[in-house]
Point group: D2
Chain length 312, copies 4
Amino acid sequence: MCLTEEQKTEIEAQRAGHAATRRATVPALEEMLYRAIPVLDHGFIRVVDYMGDDGAVVQAARVSYGRGTRQVSEDAGLIRYLMRHRHTTPFEMCEIKYHVKLPIFVARQWIRHRTANVNEYSARYSILDREFYIPAPEHLAAQSAVNRQGRGAVLAGQEAAQVFDILREDAARCYHHYVEMLNEGAGGAPADPGRQGLARELARMNLTLNTYTQWYWKTDLHNLLHFLSLRADAHAQYEIRAYAEAMLVSVEAWVPATFAAFCDYRLGAVTFSAAMLSVLRRLLAGETVGQEGSGLSKREWAEMMEVLGRQG
Amino acid sequence: MCLTEEQKTEIEAQRAGHAATRRATVPALEEMLYRAIPVLDHGFIRVVDYMGDDGAVVQAARVSYGRGTRQVSEDAGLIRYLMRHRHTTPFEMCEIKYHVKLPIFVARQWIRHRTANVNEYSARYSILDREFYIPAPEHLAAQSAVNRQGRGAVLAGQEAAQVFDILREDAARCYHHYVEMLNEGAGGAPADPGRQGLARELARMNLTLNTYTQWYWKTDLHNLLHFLSLRADAHAQYEIRAYAEAMLVSVEAWVPATFAAFCDYRLGAVTFSAAMLSVLRRLLAGETVGQEGSGLSKREWAEMMEVLGRQG
Amino acid sequence: MCLTEEQKTEIEAQRAGHAATRRATVPALEEMLYRAIPVLDHGFIRVVDYMGDDGAVVQAARVSYGRGTRQVSEDAGLIRYLMRHRHTTPFEMCEIKYHVKLPIFVARQWIRHRTANVNEYSARYSILDREFYIPAPEHLAAQSAVNRQGRGAVLAGQEAAQVFDILREDAARCYHHYVEMLNEGAGGAPADPGRQGLARELARMNLTLNTYTQWYWKTDLHNLLHFLSLRADAHAQYEIRAYAEAMLVSVEAWVPATFAAFCDYRLGAVTFSAAMLSVLRRLLAGETVGQEGSGLSKREWAEMMEVLGRQG
Amino acid sequence: MCLTEEQKTEIEAQRAGHAATRRATVPALEEMLYRAIPVLDHGFIRVVDYMGDDGAVVQAARVSYGRGTRQVSEDAGLIRYLMRHRHTTPFEMCEIKYHVKLPIFVARQWIRHRTANVNEYSARYSILDREFYIPAPEHLAAQSAVNRQGRGAVLAGQEAAQVFDILREDAARCYHHYVEMLNEGAGGAPADPGRQGLARELARMNLTLNTYTQWYWKTDLHNLLHFLSLRADAHAQYEIRAYAEAMLVSVEAWVPATFAAFCDYRLGAVTFSAAMLSVLRRLLAGETVGQEGSGLSKREWAEMMEVLGRQG
């Protein structure tokens, strides 16, 4: 992550400001407000605003006049109840806004979550910075042999070296040509007076998908948790998972009771189908059950045994 | 509006609390925070939380690292530009939450705006208060003769008296029977030990549509302005317009530059169709144009002449 | 359900029409198209249009040029895979539209599902019919003693008789007064020439919440299944569950493979929290576990034992 | 646009199939169903399914039991009324689904319209085809000097030749390296047995933004019209406008009455702000008004005069 001095100054100026407010305020989140938390090689997330706290969830669930808080333990119990029974609307009453810098191919996965507000840096209007994502050596993985959308072993040796060369050189060359086609010099004058310069909205098409972009992204707590349950999952692509994991830290600081319930009832939870539930009851009754007599496919059987920590 | 002493105490306790925050803060909105603003005979709106300000709109439009503010006049200019060209996403970066008490028939109109978060007081879980909307005499209007969904002259004399009697007596009787069927006494015991009491989720069906309900309602600034442009309009039913007008006051306090642009480009604006635009050009060229040669229907012609302040 | 002769004629006229189409067509759903299926005492649902079938789910998942169908068994396997792994977007590619007649208090629960399109009969513009929901004797339930939003035993004897009297008389009186205040006679003339008649948008507030309304409601298959998983659930209020169950029949006719996967992975499935999963592993390892050593609350423990079909 | 023989065969097989349906059917849209309409150099749109027609808009607005159609002229009048007064929900009752092939940088603009359903071809799971967008010579435009997000004159001569060389060579080289890093040979074996091959989800990051992708995109008529009003506009980037214009043809075939109203009240309409309306009234009253005394900025004044076809 390379913030310019000017950017650091702007961030610190915001952090230095304080105002008095009657709103619900969370000191632990205030502490990290505006700070850029590094993700991948040049990316970051930073919380730029928030609204509400654990108490706001309780307040909305009770449609109360005051703060909604009785005792901390009672509130946590209600939050656990809401999470367990999928009463999702009270969690929609909290809102958070992030500034995120991320590679374009990650942005394309991210944007599939539609219930959020987004303002992206416009490459139609402005010029993108010269920054590309190059995986760290330990994340340069081969295609998985068993899962068409998964990764296998880490590449090493000459193959890894060649891949790094390709990624770096192609991104650099494409960016160099992007700037050349734009032909923009200092102060608005053309760099080369003999050329007009290609329109920004066209020149950008020459960039590679690992070029970094950035956006403001705002969503409510319920939709954020849904996003995180999918993107912090082991099946998510590593690059977006890295962002999800950084965001989990901010959620824990922001709404600790909700976060704890989320870990128990979502992140760490498992859903059994009707057929699996039937197998489970037979197992608990002491019956010996194998895949063949289970009614489950081999894949489902294997998944279930893994979850239960048993040999198939 | 009749807040109980307990409710007033809860509200004042919230207003008394202050915390330091690094977030964007709007003193004018802080001043009205939590306070119930009366609407209709027993309803209210009150702002219970907010996120962002005019600067947050600018910040998102520029995807900037700092506050996004240059000079106040420059920011206002950008906000006017965004509003005029319907660049709506920067306005989605501000969020506001209201606690609203409103008659059920108004709630049913309101909920048609789907891009918002809602937590309503549950009559399945709790017992509704004994409060019904009865129009003020000056709002007890006859059916319009020309507009099937509009109002005509105000009812007066004996007809008005009869209507008031009906509205009051039917609402009161239905509520009385609601409580009777519930049969709930003090401390959870039945009021009449000889009866079980009807389930709350069923008993509520006996209430009339002017019974008050309440909810927490949260939305972003763009969707709020869309709601207000429709519901503060002269064609909206008076009862929901009363809420929209109270909310406009909070918007003006919250985001004054956005509010000014909204008044100019939305509330006070008029859209001319292609056919109307053609008429307009002919009029400006000094041509005499009547409805018949205009290509407009009689209704459209009348609407256009009214907007232009001309005799048809 | 009382359709007028005119309504029956309109429905049969639509059913009689046939056209040739190149679109995916489902004979089993065509067979029930437009027919009103009774729900509660005067309500109904009827499918008025649909788009797509099981094959459209497969087609979208594969982004294929043709029909997307290989073998029926292979398609069903893919649909099961998508359902199990919560790949929800392919199910959004099918759409269905219902015409529904339902009591207003049910409509108010229903509308909380926001990702749908709705056009409701306007009581601001038109006059509602004289139809109210009165529960069947076997659904006239007492308040549950253990669950604040549940039902207990069925009311009987004199208490039931009194409740039925109240519900019938209050609804009838309110409706009678509604018509009287409207004062609309035949052909647009006032019924009583001495009165102006109250505006429709106001008169409606005198109606009780069990008055029937109707709407066109359209949604995609994914959001429909989400609606049904919540509203066909045993914890849903009986009155909305009755609608959900009638809709399940249309889903089974429309997309049989999706319906089967939905029954297995949603309707019949159970989610265990991280803490429950830990208990499960201990039980399967032969350990004796009681509530106290389980880390679960009494309520969670009871819920888990019930799901597993065990004595606590 | 280069469809393979296999794709053409699949499309023709779908077109050859016919089934009888009771649903609303539009012969003019059936005629173009499934056919790929070329857009840009390798892209296309094709309608793959639809639901409803002009009559369905009328039917929903009236919440009628039958077809909703009285006379064609009466229906068209109602549709014009709904469009003029922005009663948008009846237009949500029609749905259409497109299969679109488009460059990634266009897909990124398109996806900002969130109220739609999307299934995109997955480059995490599959390998993208070797197809890139290269502008036609007449669309290779310079940056606009006056509008930061617009285009100026067309590039010509040596500058154009250089740009074409860069675009073609960089896209080709990046794609070549993409395939090389993947190292996938025939039948699943590696192309070069000495290398493992980079994971697909990583290799794709080396592609340029003009690479073509494809998706199934489904939306309702109201949101489609909103999309088209923004993307068929003269201010939209040419490349997405080309798609919008091809889609307008399908809308005209599908819902001709709605399309006509849309052209009059949206595409050809102009909105005047409160300040502009005040100027208009003065002009119509014969007053001489210049920019300085108008209360409008120079830019607004110029825009207004252009719309009115007057010299400023």
